[in-house]
C-alpha cells in the first residue's frame, strides 16, 4: 500500500511534466492544426540555452528564465521563418517540415555542445520527504507540480479572460471571419506558437534533470509520451491534455514500479495503439467529432 501511494504520487509528478508538454502540443494544434513534431527538439534547444546561461552566471534561475525566453522566441521564429511559408493544404507538409527542423536543431546542438550527455542539476533536492513514516513527494516534485499548476492557470486566464486570448481563439476557429473583423490572424498564430513553445521549453526544463541529462535526443521519448497524453486527451482540449498527461504519468509510474523500467517505451506504444484503435478522437471528444 505504501508502495502504491508512493508510485501514485511519483506518477502525478511525472505526469505533470507530460501534461505541460502535451499542453504545448495542444496549443499549436488549436492555433494552426499542426502537430509540432519539432516540439521536443525545440525544448531541448531551450534547455541548452539554460545550460549555457547557468554555466556562465552560476545561477539556476537565470538559466530557467533564459530557457523560457529562448523557447518563446524560438517558437515565434519557427512560425515566421518556416511554417508560414509552408503549403498547408496537405496536412503532411508541415509534419515533414517539422521533421526537417528536428534534424536541423539536433545537428546544430550536437555541433555546438557535442553529443555527450551533460549533467544537469535540479534546483531542489530530489530525495522524497517522509510524512508519518511514508515516503511521499520530493521538494523537486512539489516544485514541478506547482509550476505546472501556475502555468495551467495562467493559460486558462489568458484564453478566457483577456482580449488577446479571445482573438487567438477566434483566429484559430474561424480565421476568415476573424480576419474580416480585424484580427491579425497570422500574428495570433505566431503568438500561439510562441506561447506553446514557451510552455514546451518549461516542460523540457522540468524533465531534463530527471532524465539522464542533457543530450540532443533527450526529448525523443518524452515527445512520444506527451503526444500519447495529448491524443488520450483528444489533441483539441487543454483540460484533456492535462488529464491525459497525469493519466499517462500514473500508468508509467505503475509500469516501472511493478513491472520494470525497461517496459516503459512498450507501455507507451501499447497505450497509444489502444487509444487510437478504440477512441481515436480521445477521451474528451464527442463521439462524432471526426468523420471519414
Amino acid at each position: 500500500m505504501d508502495r502504491f501511494l508512493f508510485l501514485t504520487l511519483d506518477g502525478l509528478s511525472r505526469g505533470a511534466v507530460h501534461a505541460a508538454f502535451a499542453l504545448a502540443l495542444v496549443l499549436i494544434w488549436r492555433a494552426g492544426r499542426i502537430v509540432n513534431f519539432a516540439q521536443g527538439a525545440m525544448a531541448v534547444a531551450a534547455a541548452y540555452v539554460a545550460y549555457a546561461v547557468t554555466a556562465a552566471t552560476g545561477s539556476y534561475w537565470a538559466g530557467f528564465v533564459a530557457a523560457l525566453v529562448a523557447g518563446v522566441l524560438l517558437g515565434a521564429l519557427v512560425d515566421v521563418a518556416v511554417m508560414r511559408l509552408v503549403d498547408h493544404r496537405s496536412p503532411l507538409n508541415p509534419v515533414i517540415v517539422a521533421l526537417g527542423l528536428v534534424l536541423l536543431i539536433q545537428a546544430v546542438l550536437g555541433m555546438i555542445h557535442g553529443n555527450e550527455y551533460l549533467p544537469v542539476q535540479a534546483p531542489f533536492s530530489r530525495t522524497a520527504l517522509t510524512a508519518g513514516g511514508l515516503a511521499v513527494l520530493s521538494p523537486y516534485d512539489l516544485f514541478v507540480l506547482a509550476t505546472v499548476g501556475v502555468v495551467g492557470a495562467t493559460l486558462v486566464w489568458i484564453f478566457t479572460r483577456t482580449a488577446v486570448g479571445l482573438r487567438m481563439r477566434a483566429a484559430a476557429f474561424a480565421p476568415e471571419v476573424s480576419r474580416l473583423l480585424g484580427v491579425d490572424v497570422a500574428g495570433m498564430r505566431t503568438l500561439g506558437w510562441a506561447l506553446a513553445s514557451g510552455v514546451g521549453a518549461l516542460a523540457g526544463m522540468l524533465v531534463v534533470p530527471t532524465e539522464l541529462g542533457l543530450h540532443p535526443h533527450a526529448m525523443d521519448l518524452v515527445f512520444v509520451t506527451a503526444f500519447t497524453a495529448a491524443v488520450v486527451g483528444g489533441l483539441d482540449s487543454p483540460p484533456g491534455a492535462v488529464v491525459g498527461g497525469l493519466g499517462v504519468g500514473l500508468l508509467l509510474s505503475y509500469v516501472s514500479g511493478y513491472a520494470g523500467g525497461d517496459l516503459i517505451p512498450l507501455a507507451v506504444l501499447a497505450l497509444l495503439l489502444a487509444v487510437m484503435l478504440l477512441r481515436p478522437g480521445g477521451l474528451f471528444a464527442p463521439v462524432n467529432a471526426r468523420r471519414v
Binding site: 502537430v35 493544404r89 496537405s90 503532411l92 509534419v95 521533421l99 512498450l266 481515436p280
Partner: protein
C-alpha cells in the same frame, strides 16, 4: 505532393497516359532491370572495394526508400516508423543466420532463405501497424509511427537475452564463392548480393504501382471519399500499401545488416526513420526513381561531410562533432527548403528539365526520353 489535396476535382483513377509503347509493363520493367543489372556488373569491376560497398549500401537503402515512396507518395500515408521496420528485418536476418550456423549450415546459398524470413516477419509486424494505421490520418498516423520508431530500437534493450541489448548481434555470413578466385574482393561480392535484391524489389514495386492496386493507392491519396464512391475499400487499400512498403523496408534492413555483418539498436534509431522520409521527399515524392536518388543521397552525404571536414583544418573534437552532425544539418535544412520551394524533389526537377528540353527541340523527342516515371 502539394497537389494531393489541392487541385482535387475528384480525378478519375486512370493510368497515366502510357504513350505510344505497346510492350507489356512487366517486360519493360524487366528489361530496364536487366540493363541496370548489367550496368552494376560492369561498374563493380571499375570501382574500388570501398565504392563497391557504398553502392551495395545504396542498394539496401533503395529497398526501404522505394517502399516508403509507394506508401507516402502514392498512398498518402506518412510513416516515420520505417527505420524500425528495417530494424525488424535486420534482427530477423541476424537471428536466422545464427540459427542456421548453429545447425552447422554455412553455405552462402542459405542467405536468401534468411532474407525471405526477414521479409515475412516484417510483413507480419507491418500488418499489425498497418491495420492500426488504416484508421488514422495525417498527424495521427505520423505520431503512431513515430512512437514505433522510438520504441522498437529501445525494446532491443528490453529483450536483452535474445537481442543482446545495446551491443546488438553479429550477422554471420558466408564468404564469396571460391569459384570467383581468391583475389575477388568481398565488397564486390556484397554488391552482387545486394543489387539483385534491390532490383527485384524495384521491379515488383514498379509493377504494383502500374497495376490495379497502384491506381487504387493514388485514388485513395487524392480523395478518399471519391475512392470509396468508386468502390475502393479504402482501409484495405491502405493496409496493403503499408504491408508492401513494410516488406520492402524489411528487405532493406536485412540487406543492411548483412552488409555491415552486425545489427544494433543504435543503427536503427529515430534518425534513420527521419532520414528515410527525408530521402523520399528530397528524391521526389511518388516516384520510384526519386527513391533511388534519395538512397544515393543517404550514402553520399555523410561521405561528402567527411571530405569537407577533412579539407578544413580543425581541432579533432570539432572535426568529430562536425562530421557526425553536418549531414544531419544538411538533410534537415534541405528538407525544409525542398518542402517550401520545390515539393517535387530531385526527380520532379529532372522531369521538368526533360520536358523543357523536349519542348525546345520537338523534332528529336527520342534524344531526351523522360526519366522512368513511377
Amino acid at each position: 505532393m502539394s497537389a494531393t489535396r489541392v487541385a482535387s476535382p475528384p480525378r478519375p483513377a486512370v493510368d497515366p497516359p502510357a504513350g505510344p509503347r505497346s510492350v507489356p509493363t512487366l517486360l519493360r520493367h524487366l528489361a530496364v532491370a536487366l540493363v541496370a543489372a548489367l550496368a552494376v556488373l560492369v561498374l563493380s569491376y571499375q570501382l574500388d572495394p570501398f565504392r563497391n560497398f557504398q553502392l551495395a549500401t545504396v542498394a539496401a537503402y533503395v529497398c526501404a526508400t522505394a517502399g516508403l515512396t509507394v506508401l507516402t507518395g502514392l498512398c498518402g500515408q506518412l510513416s516515420l516508423g520505417h527505420g524500425a521496420l528495417m530494424a525488424v528485418g535486420a534482427y530477423t536476418v541476424a537471428l536466422c543466420q545464427h540459427a542456421l550456423v548453429d545447425r552447422g549450415l554455412t553455405s552462402g546459398a542459405l542467405l536468401p532463405v534468411s532474407l525471405g524470413v526477414a521479409v515475412l516477419v516484417t510483413v507480419l509486424v507491418g500488418a499489425v501497424v498497418g491495420v492500426a494505421a488504416a484508421r488514422l490520418r495525417g498527424p495521427y498516423l505520423a505520431g503512431l509511427t513515430l512512437a514505433v520508431a522510438v520504441v522498437v530500437p529501445a525494446s532491443a534493450v528490453t529483450f536483452d537475452g535474445l537481442l543482446n541489448g545495446e551491443q546488438g548481434l553479429t550477422v554471420p555470413t558466408a564468404p564469396a564463392p571460391a569459384a570467383l578466385g581468391s583475389a575477388f574482393p568481398y565488397e564486390r561480392w556484397q554488391l552482387w548480393l545486394a543489387a539483385p535484391a534491390a532490383l527485384l524489389c524495384l521491379v515488383l514495386l514498379a509493377n504494383l504501382v502500374r497495376s490495379r492496386y497502384g491506381r487504387a493507392f493514388r485514388a485513395v491519396r487524392d480523395d478518399e471519399v471519391a475512392a470509396r464512391l468508386a468502390g475502393i475499400h479504402v482501409a484495405r487499400t491502405q493496409v496493403v500499401a503499408f504491408v508492401v512498403s513494410a516488406a520492402a523496408a524489411g528487405l532493406g534492413g536485412a540487406l543492411l545488416a548483412v552488409l555491415a555483418q552486425s545489427v544494433s539498436p543504435g543503427a536503427f534509431g529515430l534518425t534513420l526513420s527521419l532520414f528515410l522520409v527525408m530521402a523520399v521527399v528530397i528524391g521526389g515524392l511518388g516516384r520510384l526513381a526519386g527513391a533511388v536518388w534519395g538512397a544515393v543521397a543517404l550514402v553520399a552525404l555523410p561521405d561528402l561531410a567527411h571530405s569537407v571536414t577533412d579539407l578544413l583544418t580543425l581541432a579533432p573534437t570539432t572535426a568529430r562533432r562536425l562530421e557526425g552532425n553536418l549531414p544531419l544539418a544538411i538533410f534537415g535544412s534541405t528538407l525544409i527548403v525542398v518542402m517550401i520551394a520545390a515539393p517535387g524533389g530531385v526527380q520532379g526537377a529532372l522531369s521538368r528539365l526533360g520536358r523543357a528540353l523536349r519542348k525546345r527541340r520537338p523534332t528529336h523527342p527520342t534524344h531526351h526520353p523522360a526519366p522512368p516515371d513511377r
